[in-house]
């Protein structure tokens, strides 16, 4: 098996044996895929996956993605099951999220028609449990938080950039399926963000704003400028501090998701804050790094240039999503207070347009144990574990004027981006 297959990297005896069929034909094909993938980047070897858990990007049972589910069946039948448990991105459907008969018909009949079957496949392949559906698997309430230095086989761009940058783990921006393959064989090709050289910053970003920059716009600006490169951000610690506490981590979560979706950033360093920037200082900046200066005007320029994809640009918003990536427990509490206070100030009892806050099932469970749950419910805001992006990816939702404070959601859908303070004003005061 694979006897005549020419490859460039050095494999250990164990790895070569798998490639040649010691663990069966399916496992050999999984290994061959990873070897070819690594060879494309000149990876000299495979290294062990050292994290406790994996994370997959594909959570949706889209009927049309038949080849993926057939491949999953092949893996299961061939005994190629993940060697580590894994979490997965959020589910695409939640009956609590505002919908209508036609949308439900399209969602269930044409789009996510094999959701139950795919959920069953994930369970067989190694899904942790039925609550492990979130893009923020690294939250304490979820439990898939890698240690510094861990080698991961994850996908989901926002989770990868967070794990690399804030937690100091090591992971490439893997594609769906490839990440599962790494978890199955327990090895990943050694290249890119797994290497010391690949983690060096090739951009210096100087933040020179007069106030704390909106995380989602700052991340967007940096992502669009540096694309897949590694930025070293100076001057941000002045606004978000030098401690990785809850607020700062939530800021970095939203910032990183924007760098990864508006560009292709897999790792960033924040001076005096993120682990490798603290340890290595400016020595982590590569020779010849380019410089990008961000001031108030630059952020405003970026913000004003976001295209509005609505057919009627003055339409009244029909739905609002907050929580892409999923909100942290502290963010949920803060939004609850802000919405309740905003409504009170404006003499209203309920939000003026249907609003959905999204968070991981584990975070929602903890939130529901606090008095904040009743407070949020009273405002009319729906709390869901859904993936807003998947909700938006259908012809009916595409035509809806949806607003969000997520730059990732803006990038991949027709939703319109507003700053968090603007979103708050819209949903608590009336329609802008």
């Amino acid at each position: 098996m694979n006897e005549n297959f020419n490859y460039k990297m050095e494999l250990t005896e164990e790895q070569a044996a798998i490639l040649h069929g010691s663990k069966g034909e399916t496992m050999a094909k999984v290994m061959k895929t990873l070897v070819l993938y690594g060879d494309a980047f000149g990876a000299p070897k495979m290294v062990p996956v050292t994290s406790k858990m994996g994370h997959l990007v594909t959570s949706f049972g889209l009927g049309v993605m038949k080849p993926v589910y057939e491949l999953m069946d092949t893996l299961i039948d061939g005994g190629a099951i993940s060697g580590q448990k894994f979490s997965v991105d959020p589910k695409p459907l939640d009956k609590n999220v505002p919908s209508d008969f036609l949308k439900n018909f399209v969602f269930n009949k044409f789009m996510y028609s094999v959701q139950d079957e795919y959920d069953a496949q994930l369970k067989k392949l190694g899904l942790v449990d039925s609550k492990a559906y979130t893009c923020t698997c690294y939250m304490d309430e979820v439990g898939n938080k890698p240690n510094k230095g861990d080698v991961l086989s994850w996908a989901e761009s926002s989770a990868v950039v967070y794990a690399n940058s804030v937690l100091g783990a090591k992971c490439n921006r893997n594609s769906g399926i490839i990440e599962l393959f790494g978890s199955i064989v327990g090895f990943v090709p050694y290249f890119g963000l797994l290497t010391e050289e690949g983690r060096k910053a090739t951009w210096i970003v100087e933040v020179k704003t007069t106030k704390k920059p909106e995380a989602q716009i700052l991340g967007s600006a940096i992502g669009m400028k540096v694309m897949e490169d590694v930025p070293f951000v100076k001057g941000l610690d002045k606004w978000i501090g030098t401690e990785l506490d809850g607020d700062t981590c939530a800021y970095l979560k939203d910032f990183g998701a924007a760098t990864a979706s508006n560009g292709a950033v897999g790792l960033y360093h924040i001076e005096n804050l993120t682990p490798e920037a603290v340890e290595q200082g400016e020595s982590i900046i590569a020779d010849g790094a380019k410089t990008y200066v961000i001031d108030d005007a630059e952020l405003e320029r970026v913000y004003k240039n976001y295209p509005v994809m609505w057919a009627d640009k003055n339409a009244t918003p029909k739905l609002c999503f907050v929580g892409c990536p999923h909100l942290s427990l502290a963010q949920l509490k803060e939004w609850t207070d802000n919405v309740a206070n905003g409504l009170k100030k404006n003499g209203l009892s309920k939000v003026s347009i249907p609003t959905v806050f999204t968070a991981a099932p584990g975070v929602i469970e903890q939130f529901n144990k606090t008095p904040y749950a009743a407070k949020l419910k009273a405002t009319g805001v729906v709390l869901s574990y859904i993936c807003p992006l998947m909700y938006m990816n259908n012809p009916l939702a595409k035509k809806m004027p949806v607003i969000t404070n997520s730059n990732k959601l803006r990038t991949y859908t027709t939703s319109r981006y507003y700053k968090s303070e603007e979103i708050l004003a819209i949903i608590t005061k009336g329609v802008k």
């Binding site: 070819l36 993926v68 490439n172 490839i178």
Partner: protein, 154 residues
């Protein structure tokens, strides 16, 4: 006739008409509509030839990608990209080949390799063709790809 020598990521031969994207190719945004709605009556009629659905790609939006020689710098966007490319290939809705001016990115490489190992008809993929290639090639040009990564325009 112009020739460019690249690196075969997935070796193979093909001849096809060029379709050129000068900006990063967002795989999910480009294929999503064709894959999702292609089989749905009414909605699918405008995606019969895998028309590009990425509204942000001024070069490709609305153009058929099926059986074309897709010429691009790199892919961008969601980490579902490789899986989407694999699906397009397995469903017979992909371009004939992918020709990258730059080094292939991790998401496109995943799609290329998955298609090569897990489908019966691998899609030739060549990278490192250089900016000169992307400057020279135009929509509709006849493209010939050789096993060794040589790409001929005209």
């Amino acid at each position: 006739m112009k020739q460019f020598k690249g690196r075969p990521v997935v070796a193979g031969k093909c001849t096809a008409e060029a379709l050129v994207s000068h900006s990063g190719f967002n795989t999910l945004a480009s294929f999503q509509s064709a894959l999702q709605y292609g089989e749905i009556p009414i909605l699918g009629s405008k995606y019969k030839n895998t028309e590009c659905g990425d509204q942000n790609n001024k070069d490709l939006f609305g153009k058929p990608m099926l059986n074309k020689a897709l010429c691009l710098p790199q892919t961008i966007g969601s980490t579902t990209g490789g899986m989407v490319l694999y699906c397009a290939k397995a469903l017979g809705k992909s371009p004939s080949c992918l020709l990258f001016s730059e080094h292939i990115d991790s998401l496109a490489a995943a799609g290329a390799v998955l298609s090569a190992v897990w489908t019966d008809s691998p899609m030739p993929v060549v990278d490192c063709l250089g900016q000169e290639f992307l400057d020279a090639v135009k929509d509709g040009d006849k493209i010939t790809v050789a096993e060794d990564g040589t790409v001929t325009i005209g």
